[in-house]
């Protein structure tokens, strides 16, 4: 049986890649990946909007697929390869195609949801997806500002299924 005091002070060493660089840290088991990224690494582009998996603002790529960083413990990301919004653009600041499409289509207003949408698209959008498929795919990301239309337009363009 683990006594509470030891559990409280327990730190677990983790080592992971974040946006291409290797990070090592000793983290409490209860630290959420979202908090590790934001507070531990200062990568505040990952936003936190609900901490129960519904809003999608915290979406990052874990080993290449989109996942909720608020529902992942930092210890579970040990040895993983993480990409956050900070890792999407080129090092010289050139926007990725996904980001550029959002800029072109005015797909953001306040921008709070944007990183989550971009990561979901980066991880899960497949070429040739139809608009209904795209809407279903991105239903796990909430936006309160745009009414989604401009986001759908960007995603449809990215999937290459724009109707002529």
């Amino acid at each position: 049986m683990t006594s509470d005091t030891t559990a409280e002070n327990r730190r677990v060493p983790i080592r992971l890649r974040v946006n291409g660089s290797t990070e090592s840290a000793a983290v409490p088991p209860r630290l959420l990946l979202s908090d590790f990224l934001r507070e531990g690494l200062g990568l505040t582009g990952t936003h936190v909007g609900c901490e129960h998996g519904v809003c999608g603002a915290c979406t990052v790529l874990i080993d290449g697929t989109a996942a909720r960083s608020c529902l992942t413990l930092a210890v579970q990301a040990d040895e993983a390869d993480i990409t956050t919004i900070e890792g999407l653009a080129e090092p010289d600041g050139t926007l990725s195609t996904v980001q550029q499409a959002f800029a072109d289509h005015f797909s953001l207003q306040c921008g709070f949801c944007t990183a989550g949408f971009l990561m979901s698209i980066a991880g899960e959008l497949e070429q040739g997806m139809t608009e209904p498929e795209i809407r279903e795919l991105l239903s796990g990301n909430l936006c309160r500002c745009t009414g989604y239309q401009s986001i759908v337009e960007a995603a449809v363009e990215l999937a290459g299924t724009r109707e002529a």
Binding site: P28, R30, L31, E39, H47, G49, C50, E51, H52, V54, C55, A57, F106, Q109, C110, G111, F112, C113, I134, R135, E136, L138, S139, G140, N141, L142, C143, R144, C145, T146, G147, Y148, Q149, S150, I151, V152
Partner: protein, 726 residues
């Protein structure tokens, strides 16, 4: 830190004269009136540890449960426990309309009906919750806060914390949405600032979603009891309407009573409807305080008016649009004063209405064809017209602050400009709009204009982002300041061009002499260098510096009601018509919005994408209110029955349909550049349009919806009920 530890902090003022005072304390002590009321604050080195402490603290609390007041009926019953015993009742506002001519018209009308309409509780729900970081250093308090009105926040902090206003700096960087909820200056902000001062170190509080759902303002929660008189032609002679709003505990600054006044004030919106009498009661209950939310009372009022129209149409066997048509405002009637005193300055009410009928009629046929083969799906179209009050006075809402805003422009030595304004960016595009407008006013490139807002140290005192006012008051103040700067710039240019200032024109970023194309030109950079740093180049007697400050308030705006309670509280009025085409599945009750149209008029459009984004985003929130979101409480225990996004159903991309917009542009005659507002417009129409469409679709079942949200379950129940009757 508990209530006792904030003894030295002030009590929120109760500015609004029509409200009974609630004496809101930053932390609540002996009486706690709603789940979510702040009673204690714990500071720790991180949020995890703080939550551990809160959990431990909660276990030690001694609580006597009182019996709660959860509904309007409970609040107004004779045996009701009183939230504020000193009031003698639970009514924070009680305004009785008294228009004998309306009653006479009602009595004279051939037919009458009474009905109660209900609009549920919602919350503005920005995706970014609230957040505060405060630091007290060298005698100055700095607060970074997710807020819509930085200066008003500063004034309130200074007042409650007993600081000189100049010693408080409020910064609102990149606010992640507000929608009205962040206009209020909340207890948590005061508590965090106070803690920072006591502890001598920075303190941060980021609201989590569970907190947000109970601690940030709710809104709507209205019922309207109407008495309507009409005749066989479908002419509505008169209406009495009692607006009753459940404002929760009322402990919020600014108070949340004003939306209900707007509901009554704008409900007849696009219609020529003189015979309206409105009474307004706001009751307090043991729920989260209600406050501002996009639409600010208009969606509720418009929902009621449009449902009344549809009821009359059904009773007399007419197409509802034939009931609307004779009432729709004509251009020749402008300016038109509504029963509540709001003076509609201009608009295209008839054109938007006619155009949306064309769009809706075509779409109805398309959608009917789509579902032709499915006997279990019924299709319908629904319409609504409305006006959006823009650039309102804040005085009626706050008892403080009126309707103005401010700008300063400083031309920099390199010929660029720094434009600082008192309005705020909350994601609605105010920075780009300001930059475009200022560049235009100053004859500069977009890239040469730097915009400053949301920082009380750097921006002039202004009132922030609310009330669909930003573009107008920003433009008014920027244009005025730009004129001052330009006048001086022309004098400098004239001196360099050896011409008269009156002959100097500014085109394509250069000053030239009028009528001499291709002649000598002086650039903005040359004028600026002379004006700011090489002042030896200035004409004799002209002093250095190229900057100006200006404020702007629409002159006709009224801040007090007249003796009959009428007030022209908003300076200009956008208008719109919506059409929704829905397909209702009789099996599941599922409502699918197949097509949605907005024909809109917000006067001169500055930035089309910003306008489009505001309308479409607003419609999505309107749909959320029409069909999805609700905040029910357990009537016995007072416990919220919503704890998360699993219960509070914010619609996703799969539920929000594409929205098609079209525009008319009726410039506001009295506003700078003819601009009106667009921030709240989209939100107003959907509850009415969608409900009307659903009732059209289910005409066979004689459905008459009087309550939102309209859900599949309520539709199934209605279908079942109608089967049982036949």
């Amino acid at each position: 830190m508990t209530a006792d530890d904030v003894d030295d902090v002030g009590t929120y003022p109760d500015y609004i004269v029509i409200n009974k005072p609630v004496n809101q304390r930053p932390l609540r002590g002996d009486v706690v009136r709603y789940v979510g009321a702040p009673i204690a604050a714990v500071a720790a080195t991180d949020r995890y540890a703080a939550e551990d402490a809160v959990e431990a603290l909660a276990a030690t609390l001694e609580i006597d449960e009182l019996s709660p007041v959860m509904t309007v009926e409970q609040a107004t019953s004779d045996e009701a426990p009183l939230l504020y015993p000193e009031w003698g009742d639970n009514k924070v506002v009680d305004l009785v309309g008294d228009r004998p001519e309306v009653r006479a018209a009602l009595d004279a009308a051939p037919h009458r009906f009474t009905e109660t309409y209900v609009v549920q509780r919602q919350t503005p729900l920005p995706m970014e919750t609230r957040g505060v970081v405060a630091e007290y250093r060298d005698g100055r308090l700095s607060v970074w806060v997710s807020h819509q009105s930085p200066h008003i926040a500063r004034t309130t902090y200074a007042m409650l914390l007993g600081l000189r206003e100049a010693d408080v700096r409020v910064v609102c960087p990149r606010v992640g949405g507000g929608f009205g909820g962040k206009t209020h200056v909340y207890s948590e902000e005061i508590v965090v600032a106070h803690l920072a001062m006591k502890l001598g170190r920075p303190v941060r509080w980021i609201e989590d979603r569970a907190e947000h759902l109970v601690a940030s303002v709710h809104a709507r929660d209205q019922r309207h009891v109407v008495d309507v008189g009409y005749d066989d032609e479908g002419h509505i002679h008169a209406m009495r309407c009692h607006v009753i709003c459940d404002v929760g505990s009322g402990e919020v600054f600014m108070a949340g009573t004003c939306p209900s006044l707007v509901s009554g004030g704008v409900m007849t919106g696009s219609y020529d409807f003189p015979n309206l009498e409105v009474s307004t009661t706001c009751v307090v209950t043991n729920k989260t305080p209600a406050g501002a939310y996009r639409g600010f009372g208009a969606p509720e009022g418009v929902f009621v008016m449009e449902r009344v129209i549809e009821r009359v149409a059904r009773l007399v066997g007419k197409d509802p649009n034939d009931v609307r048509a004779p009432m729709i405002l004509q251009q020749s009637q402008m300016p038109y004063t509504m029963p509540g005193g709001g003076r509609i300055d201009s608009g295209s009410h008839q054109q938007t209405f006619e155009r949306v009928i064309e769009l809706g009629t075509e779409a109805l046929q398309r959608v009917q064809a789509r579902f032709e083969d499915d006997p279990k799906v019924r299709v319908g179209v629904g319409y609504t017209n409305y006006v959006e009050p823009c650039v309102p006075t804040y005085f009626a809402t706050t008892g403080h602050w009126a309707g103005y805003d401010a700008a300063t422009i400083r031309i920099e030595p390199d010929g660029g400009a720094t434009v600082a304004v008192g309005v705020a960016e909350i994601g609605q595009g105010m920075v780009v709009t300001t930059r475009m407008l200022a560049a235009d006013a100053l004859g500069m490139n977009l890239d040469d204009v730097a915009v400053v807002m949301g920082d009380t140290d750097r921006a002039p005192y202004g009132l922030g982002a609310w009330g669909s006012r930003g573009a107008v008051v920003m433009a008014g103040s920027v244009v005025k300041a730009a004129e001052v700067v330009l006048d001086k710039a022309r004098v400098i240019a004239a001196h360099k061009l050896e011409a008269a200032a009156a002959d100097v024109v500014l085109e394509d970023g250069a000053f030239t002499v009028r009528g001499s194309p291709g002649g000598t030109a002086v650039t903005w950079a040359e004028v600026a260098t002379a004006g700011v740093i090489r002042t030896i180049e200035l004409p004799k007697g002209l002093e250095g510096g190229l900057d100006a400050a200006a404020t702007y308030e629409p002159y006709a705006l009224e801040h007090f009601p007249d003796e009959s309670g009428r007030i022209h509280a908003a300076a200009t009025w956008s208008n719109a018509a919506h059409a929704a085409v829905v397909a209702v599945d009789l099996r599941s009750g599922h409502i699918s919005i197949e097509e949605y149209f907005v024909v809109h008029d917000c006067g001169t459009i500055i930035h089309p994408n910003v306008v489009e984004g505001q309308i479409v985003g607003g419609v999505a929130q309107g749909i959320a209110g029409a069909m999805y979101e609700n905040l029910p409480y357990d009537p016995e225990t007072g416990q919220p029955q919503f704890a998360s996004f699993m219960e509070y159903l914010v619609p996703t991309m799969s539920e929000i349909p594409p929205v098609q917009t079209e525009h008319f542009e009726s410039p506001a005659p009295e506003m700078p550049l003819g601009i009106k507002g667009v921030g709240e417009a989209g939100t107003i129409g959907p509850p009415a349009a969608i409900t009307n469409a659903v009732c059209f679709a289910l005409a066979d079942y004689h459905l008459d919806i009087t309550e939102t949200p309209v859900t599949p379950m309520t539709i199934r129940a209605a279908i079942r009920g109608s089967k049982d009757r036949t």
